[in-house]
């Protein structure tokens, strides 16, 4: 596949850590990321998302398979690829003793950009990250959300064709997350191709055009959020909570309501096309849940259906 259609193309991509013990972090995955789209890897911790991102970012060599990024082979032309990537690692790698603008300057110099170019871009990047007032502040004085935004601003200093974001909002409070989402959405609108990993389904739903659901080093499903939900789960979900000692009993009684019942440690999920009718049926069977909630099915349910486990445990 040529660069005009796929910016990243992986076939049988594998990563094995020799160990001991030997650990297959990524077990042969195929995917293509198209120009201008936001592509997400969704999965729990340890699914192989970050390892995949590190391979795309050319900071971890693959153990097998093919990986082509921006038309170059990831193993042979690392410098050429990295020059056109933006990278937001899971942990911020800012220098906390230097100022906001110094961090951007140092990073820009790593790309071989002239100081004048970096200085001119810094104005725009800080404005984008809403950090203009913090320009000369030391990074150690910034909040978690500000640091994350600075990391993103810094990753854009080389005006990348492809931006990699590994767990961009993990550890942020809701307000900081929403601000970050809004900024990322703007980038996407500006035509920057995004690849991100997340274990938050709302993040994946908000930001991603297409998603690869990962579990145990493999891609277990992929498609748009809408497609995944339509393919793997019902339209609605009825969530029922019972006193913990009656949980098992209630599960037995509820058997057969809706298309499928999923028993979680703290609640029952009843997959159905019509949540209200399912709730009526529950009451008709003499069940008296502490709480009952009808909601639309989401990616969390897709993941549960595919793997039998919840995403955030």
């Amino acid at each position: 596949m040529d660069e005009s259609t796929a910016l990243v193309s992986a076939r049988g991509l594998t990563k094995v850590y020799e160990g001991p013990p030997e650990h297959v972090a990524v077990g042969g995955i195929d995917f293509d990321v198209l120009r201008g789209e936001a592509f997400g890897f969704l999965g729990p911790n340890g699914a192989g998302k970050s390892t995949t991102m590190r391979m795309i970012g050319c900071v971890s060599p693959r153990s097998g398979g093919d990986l082509t990024i921006l038309g170059h082979d990831a193993a042979r032309e690392r410098r050429a690829i990295k020059a056109r990537l933006g990278s937001v690692p899971q942990d911020d790698t800012l220098d906390t003793e230097l100022t906001v603008e110094e961090n951007i300057l140092i990073y820009g110099r790593y790309f071989g950009l002239p100081r004048a170019v970096i200085r001119e871009r810094t104005d725009r990047l800080l404005e984008f990250a809403r950090l203009t007032e913090k320009r000369t502040a030391r990074v150690q004085d910034l909040s978690g959300g500000m640091r994350r935004r600075l990391t993103i601003a810094r990753s854009l200093v080389n005006e990348p064709d492809l931006l990699l974001l590994d767990e961009p909002t993990t550890g942020l409070d809701p307000q900081a997350r929403h601000l970050l989402w809004e900024r990322l959405f703007r980038l996407k609108q500006d035509g920057v191709t995004l690849i991100l990993t997340t274990h938050y389904m709302d993040e994946a739903e908000q930001l991603c055009d297409r998603i690869a659901v990962m579990d145990g080093g493999r891609i277990v499903a992929h498609g748009s959020p809408r497609e995944l939900i339509e393919r793997y789960v019902t339209r609605e979900v009825l969530e029922l909570r019972f006193p913990l000692d009656q949980h098992e009993q209630a599960a037995e009684k509820a058997h057969g309501i809706g298309e499928r019942i999923e028993i979680l440690p703290d609640r029952l999920l009843c997959y159905t096309g019509d949540g209200e009718s399912a709730l009526e049926e529950t009451r008709r069977r003499g069940l008296d849940p502490i709480t009952a909630l009808v909601r639309r099915a989401g990616l969390e349910d897709v993941f549960l259906t595919l793997t039998g486990r919840t995403l955030v445990e």
Partner: protein, 246 residues
């Protein structure tokens, strides 16, 4: 030398501009305090006894180059241990640099360049004072820089793989300190009892000290230190690549 290495040098230079006053105390003032206390204080006692081991020279002239070499070793350790360990950790500078067109070997080389720069600068400052008291010769600068790099390269190679800081303190306690004591810094190695005197030959610091004093087979001293630098550099390139791009 690859150009990207200079970008890493630039990073350390940037940090140095912020902290140079503080670091000057450790790397320049401390050795000079030693020179003053030992050279002028203890030296008076030593010189009165007119020790044959000093071959007619003053104790200050003996200990000056010795402390220059020892402080160079310490610079090598200081630059090669803590900063490398910190930068290679999750969230450290090396982790940022490696996501750019920089490769692990550029990062390593750049940091070594900065270490060489700092060793030159700080050793020159100490040497300047020694020169005023005629306690060393200008050629000692090259010996000091070689000594610093002979320690910085292998220590960096080790520090980049270290999983906890205790391993680095162990290097200081069990390698740097004994070498400091028994490499002819404070007293001539010939004074040591026989088996120890032979062991001194194995000490890189002893070769550095002798080089700074301009005594003994100069070429051998230079070759020993260069061998350590080359071996440390090759090991370091592998270690940096292994740690930063696993």
């Amino acid at each position: 030398m690859s150009l990207p290495a200079f970008h890493e040098f630039g990073y350390w230079w940037h940090r140095y501009r912020r902290t140079w006053r503080g670091t000057a105390v450790i790397s320049i003032a401390n050795p000079l305090l030693f020179v003053t206390a030992l050279g002028f204080g203890l030296g008076r006692l030593v010189d009165e006894r007119n020790s044959a081991y000093l071959h007619g020279g003053s104790y200050l002239a003996f200990i000056g180059p010795g402390l220059l070499a020892a402080s160079a070793m310490q610079m090598g350790f200081i630059h090669g241990s803590g900063p490398v360990f910190q930068s290679a950790r999750t969230g450290g500078n090396f982790r940022a640099a490696v996501t750019t067109p920089m490769e692990p070997s550029d990062i390593f080389t750049g940091h070594l360049l900065f270490t060489a720069f700092r060793a030159t600068l700080d050793s020159a400052a100490i040497l300047l004072v020694l020169l005023i008291f005629r306690a060393a010769s200008p050629g000692a600068l090259a010996g000091a820089v070689l000594t610093a790099l002979a320690f910085a390269t292998p220590i960096s190679a080790y520090a980049v793989t270290a999983d906890r800081p205790a391993k680095l303190s162990a290097v200081f306690r069990f390698v740097i300190m004994p070498l400091y004591m028994f490499s002819g810094t404070f007293f001539p190695a010939e004074q040591l009892p026989d088996p120890l005197r032979t062991l001194v030959w194995l000490s890189p610091l002893w070769h550095g000290t002798e080089l700074c004093r301009g005594s003994g087979p100069i070429l051998v001293h230079v070759l020993v230190l260069l061998a350590l630098i080359v071996a440390g550099y090759l090991a370091g390139r592998r270690a940096y690549t292994g740690r930063l791009t696993a």
